[in-house]
Amino acid sequence: MTIDVVGVTKRFKTFTALDHVNLTIHSGELVALLGPSGSGKTTLLRIIAGLEWPDTGEVRFDGEDALARSVRERNVGFVFQHYALFRHMNVFENVAFGLRVRRGADKLPEAAIREKVNELLSLVQIDWLAERYPAQLSGGQRQRVALARALAISPKVLLLDEPFGALDAKVRKELRRWLRHLHEELPVTSVLVTHDQEEALELADRVVVMGHGKIEQVGSPAEVYDNPATAFVHDFIGETIALPGEVRGGALYFGTHALGLDPQGVADGPARILARPHDVDLADPGTTPFAGKVLAVRTFGPTRRADVELTSTGGPVVVEAAVPHGQTLLPGTQVGLLPRRYKVFSQPTR
């Protein structure tokens, strides 16, 4: 099912959670809404589900107005961050809930319910837990119950709110792969909310990066990583080295020193030169656009980082640079920084 979000705005008192958001999710896609907390991603998911109504704008399922329908009638599977399992029901009854509440012509006979629930429980690989109660399950098992329960109503749209947020790292990785697999098996369009970029990049067909109630960029995981559309996306996804600069007369300067870097069409004014740590080489101080004093070198696992202090007219700026293997760097020495691949964004004046 194709989902169209058109011009959706949502305010909570004075806080604008969503600001004229437009988004099209294609049928059968797995899309991740990625952003820091407060970026509006969960609000957008809840509006698609029908748990929240926008102040203005439209939501369409396959071209039909979805806002005219309540959450009951939208037939979307929703997996809550904290699972929201019914404590007084065992696993079987939790999953059967969506089938048991059907009335009238949709009402299923008991045998059909049992068959469907058992099928779902084996699909999520917890058929042996059918008689247990939620309090007796581990986090990963609860997650699977929540998913099976959401799938019981045969939804065309599956919405997941931070589905792995409450799990430990190992279980999270395992469930992530399994969810991707499940999505491919089922005729379902999935939207996933997460603040974990690794999760979004690994799992999703397309990533929607959100910040401050707006969509910053929509693209494949490779696109948003390699070609961030805004400084926000560059900062938020992957690691970033931020070098200060200024565009004057179509050239980049650091203080009074011309950098000899491409301003990439950014208008005159303060700018930020953003690069991935592995795209910045350390070189002889005299030959590079940036040079500074090494303050400290730190090692975590396979990577080493150096704090380099760049002196400028506006006071010292400390940046963190990656130290390649086989290169030694001593605190107190001068080092040059040469960005090989970089993006220039104008710095908004605050």
Binding site: A49, G50, L51, S70, V71, R72, R74, N75, V76, G77, F78, F80, H82, A84, F86, R87, H88, N90, F97, G98, V101, R102, R103, Y133, A135, Q136, R149, A150, A152, I153
Partner: protein, 284 residues
Amino acid sequence: MSASPSRIAFRQKSVIPGFGLTMGLTLTWLGLIVLLPLSALFIKTSELTFDRFIAIVTATRTLHALQVSFGLALVAALVNVVFGAIVVWVLVRYEFPFKKVVDALIDIPFALPTAVAGIALTALYAENGWVGSLLAPLGIQVSFTPLGIVVALVFIGLPFVVRTVQPVLADLDQELEEAAASLGASRPQTLVKVVLPSVWPALLTGFALAFARAVGEYGSVIFIAGNLPGVSEIAPLLIVIRLEEFRYADATAIATVMLVASFLLLLIINRLQRWAELRGSRNA
């Protein structure tokens, strides 16, 4: 671990010290405040011969009074559970002007002298009172009938239900209801299948408290009841009457029966509540 096993049972190494001191204080306190008066009651009752005891508690007047007290307390507690639950729902789930005032009003039956409540209710529901004058043409008489007793008991019992259920409903995760709705459940289905099972133990506790309070209530009831022996005479009043007649042993005999009956009923409700709680969290 050099301590003998019998010592370990009472004094385990714990991060919460002071078990001996607090337990001792608890037992002393309970003994002084609760058990001492109760045992005096039993000792006084034991002055009677067994036959005399049976004769007193099976006298028609006594049986009627007990029936009125327990029966109407049960009715009042049931009414309070239903309407108290609605009051809680409104207080927890909706925002409206003067909500704080309404919330504070709930506690008034706690604080008001029961005699004042009784007199006020009697005046209201008497045939020439504000409410009574409206009901009289319909042939409904409240003051000086068992119905009046129920009204008084409902009044004094309401806060017990509201204050026990309120925090539980407030803590109930609204995601549960959202989940039910997203699975296609209607509001009534969500209430019956999801909300009620979660607040059920609290409702039972509220019921037990309102019931216990209603069984022992005296002040407000004697004004509105009419106190007709065999019709609207409550057991606590009968006890007072016996005391005024200097028939102390008779009074304590009735009190003993009330005590034992209340204890048994509360025990049953307590078991019910435990069962509902267990069913709610985890089941074997």
